[in-house]
Symmetry: C2
Subunit: 125 residues, 2 copies
DNA sequence: TTGACACATCCTAATATGCGGATATATTGA
DNA sequence: TCAATATATCCGCATATTAGGATGTGTCAA
């Protein structure tokens, strides 16, 4: 399919827009961060990231077991789109709730393991 | 649905992108012009125009029997998108063929009726 | 008010997309 | 090599989107 069409198709989904808005604020995030921020199962998050990757909107870098995703600013059109998102979409209804969930998660995140389910809230013993 | 998502959904379709690119070059076009340019049936063209209208990307104005469509530049985000399209999408594969078909049609277009099927090519007798 | 024309909407089948559990793959440390 | 963890992909199902013919609506002229 045409590159530009693919790009806009990728943007035309609320979940993926939420991912991009999170990456606008946080420069880079791993999949488990996004799981927490979006409150969605891992397979769903990963699938959306694949769509964004294929549209050249994000790029991933593996560091150890983690995949860190950031915005892909290599292309003029994607840079233009990010500007547009920053200016007109950061007010997206879900965006602030996502950021809040993300920050909560980052606070209690175990750096060794993603600590899903067994956050630090309970390991003070 | 969220306004911004709806906007990008509308952009994420090759036919609709082709319509917007035509309107970037021609300021305003009626449905039968677009039928000719896209080489698609009227109902299909009309449906896509409805999607673009609902996304605030185009606006229509009735003049007599005709509906003239043009880009809707009332909103910051749509203006930004049009700039983006102009800069990065006018090279879309189909775009030049569409413009060519449109120009051919406009040459032979009967101003009274849309002259579908009975173009001027055959009425020189 | 009737007919012709431009356009919009409805209807149904085909296709695409989204979801999330299950499973596969990759990396690391033991 | 094996187990544990993070991520990617597969699969089946549900829903959304698309196409285009048929039909409805609005406008104009006679």
């Amino acid at each position: 399919m045409n590159t530009q069409v693919q790009l806009f198709k990728a943007l035309g989904d609320e979940t993926r827009l939420r991912v991009l808005l999170l990456l606008l604020r946080h420069t880079e995030l791993c999949v488990c961060d996004l799981e927490a921020a979006l409150d969605m199962p891992q397979s769903t998050v990963s699938r959306h990231l694949a769509v964004l990757r294929n549209a050249n909107l994000v790029e991933g870098e593996r560091r150890g077991v983690w995949m860190y995703y950031r915005l892909n600013r290599k292309y003029g059109i994607s840079k233009a789109i990010f500007k547009c998102l920053k200016k007109y979409c950061l007010t997206l209804e879900q965006a602030s709730a996502d950021t809040h969930r993300l920050n909560e998660f980052l606070k209690t995140k175990n750096v060794e393991t993603c600590s899903k389910g067994t956050g630090k809230q309970e390991d003070s013993q």
